[in-house]
């Protein structure tokens, strides 16, 4: 079966400016069903603005956004959508259960309550007032509110901020399960690992523009940088002279763990062996998204600087 993926959301040539400052320029994105799309970018890149236009809270200067074939912000879209926004507080004196029950009433076919509990991990504290929640618990509640309506499209704006590693991992797991159930998810994050782990596709934003887009692999592969890690009794200076190595860093000062970055790992390895530098516990790691990100950003700034 080769059915093309159904487009859930399409953004076409969207431009938006505030006070004569262009915050979104010619944005084109498609989101398909059962797809996780991450939007990556530094603060001020325009991620939140884009989300707000998709949620119908901001108008467009030009271009078009269509969700499920309808205009953003329309009630029929809202009923298929869930959103997790960055919220500094919520009404204190309702229990988690009451919050969720209320939000569920907005939807025609909400998710089964126990399922919501399972996804959000809040079962134990479901009768606690939101006043008493820790930061991480609060995030989980917001997540629960976003998914409790069984939406077909989910917006998650920095969903794991403030969460500990266990919570983060369980949220990722929930997202992956939801995706498997057919939900489309649009995610903004500045946790590159998160984007890497979860996304089917990544869109990289900077200065209101899309600078790179593709699957995590595609993006990472656009960078050849690899990391070489090892331990060595030698001084760091010994490795600084390697020609093919672009960067040397000492990972830990107590033990002798070093990390080299190289555009071509094979060449660097050859150099090390030729120089007979003692290396132990050698590992070669492909570039993380983080790195790719940095590089790309640097590329951008250099290219823009040179213009």
């Amino acid at each position: 079966m080769n059915t093309p993926p159904q487009t859930v959301a399409s953004i076409r040539q969207v431009c938006k400016s505030f006070d004569n400052k262009q915050v979104l320029s010619n944005i084109n994105i498609d989101l398909n069903q059962a797809e996780v799309l991450s939007i990556l970018g530094p603060n001020g890149a325009g991620k939140t603005t884009l989300i707000n236009t998709m949620l119908g809270r901001l108008s467009l200067d030009s271009g078009e956004i269509s969700l499920f074939g309808h205009a953003p912000g329309s009630m029929s879209v809202k009923r298929q959508t869930g959103a997790m926004l960055q919220v500094s507080g919520l009404p204190d004196m309702s229990t988690i259960k009451e919050h969720i029950t209320l939000f569920q009433s907005y939807y025609a076919h909400p998710m089964d309550y126990e399922q919501v509990m399972a996804f959000s991990g809040l079962k134990d504290i479901e009768n606690q007032y939101s006043k008493t929640l820790s930061g991480g618990q609060k995030q989980r509640l917001l997540f629960a509110l976003a998914i409790c309506g069984h939406p077909k499209l989910l917006f998650l704006d920095e969903p794991t901020v403030g969460m500990d590693i266990t919570a983060r991992k369980s949220l990722w797991h929930a997202i992956q399960t939801l995706k498997a159930q057919g939900t489309s998810i649009l995610l903004t994050t500045h946790y590159l690992e998160e984007a890497d782990q979860l996304s089917d596709r990544i869109v990289m934003f900077n200065h209101g523009e899309i600078v790179r887009e593709g699957t995590p692999e595609e993006i990472k592969s656009q960078i050849n940088t690899k990391k070489i890690r090892f331990s060595s009794p030698l001084n760091i200076a010994s490795f600084s002279t390697l020609k093919t190595v672009t960067k040397v860093s000492q990972i830990s000062s107590s033990t002798d763990y070093y990390e080299l970055e190289s555009a071509c790992a094979e060449k660097s390895m050859k150099e090390i062996f030729e120089k007979q530098l003692q290396v132990n516990n050698l590992t070669i790691i492909g570039a993380a998204l983080e790195d790719a990100f940095e590089i790309i950003n640097n590329e951008e700034s250099t290219s823009s600087a040179s213009e």
Binding site: Q6, L58, G89, M93, L102, Y106
Partner: protein
Amino acid sequence: MKTIIDDKPNLLNIFILEAKTETMRLFRTPGFSIPTLLFPIMFYTFFGIVFSMNPTTMPTYLMITYAVFGVIGPALFSFGVGIAIERGQGWFDLKEVSPMPASAYIVSRISLTFIFASLIILFLFTIGATFGDVRLMRWQWISLALIFVLGSLPFCAIGMTLGLYLKANSAPATVNLIYLPMSFLSGLWLPINVLPEVMQQFANLLPPYHLAQLALKITNMDLGFPIALHLSVLAAYSLLFIFLAVKAYHKKDKQ
């Protein structure tokens, strides 16, 4: 390809849940709900009954004006302060992007205002009847209660506009700064005819004055101006502030 099933959730259910949730929150916040209830009751007991200037008429007169004072409070605070705070939290935005019908938001707060207003009225009536020897015909009791409850609506509109414009941290103080002097200058704490002539004229600008005059007509204790005048002013305020609220709401879009 349209993949939407155009199914509507039960609107009545939303209204009820929303109102219930809002009300329970308030009742669980005794720090707010108790003063709102007690303030008018305490004032009335002191000035209307214990230290009343004229035991035959004061208890009835002040019971009415303090009831007006009492119902304005919940309206201004639940709309004015409540909305401002939720905006500050970003919670307002979350509700906005959710499929909650905007009407449910408003109706739930109006219901809250009505419930509070009713409680205040019940307390004041009981105190008035028991300790102030207030005696009114049944139709008078009922008419007053209705006037008070329905009369809170213009103040819901005013509160809504305030809530959409004010900043969260300054909202409680600002609303109090409006609520208390406005009530005093409208003749709700001391009878309007005790205030100097100039202030009596000024009171014509204030909606609580007009609501109080309407209510006082039931017991023939008003200043004698026509019903139409009072109703017009209250209606004008309502329309003006509804307009301003709508404008404030849509203005956000331009951010």
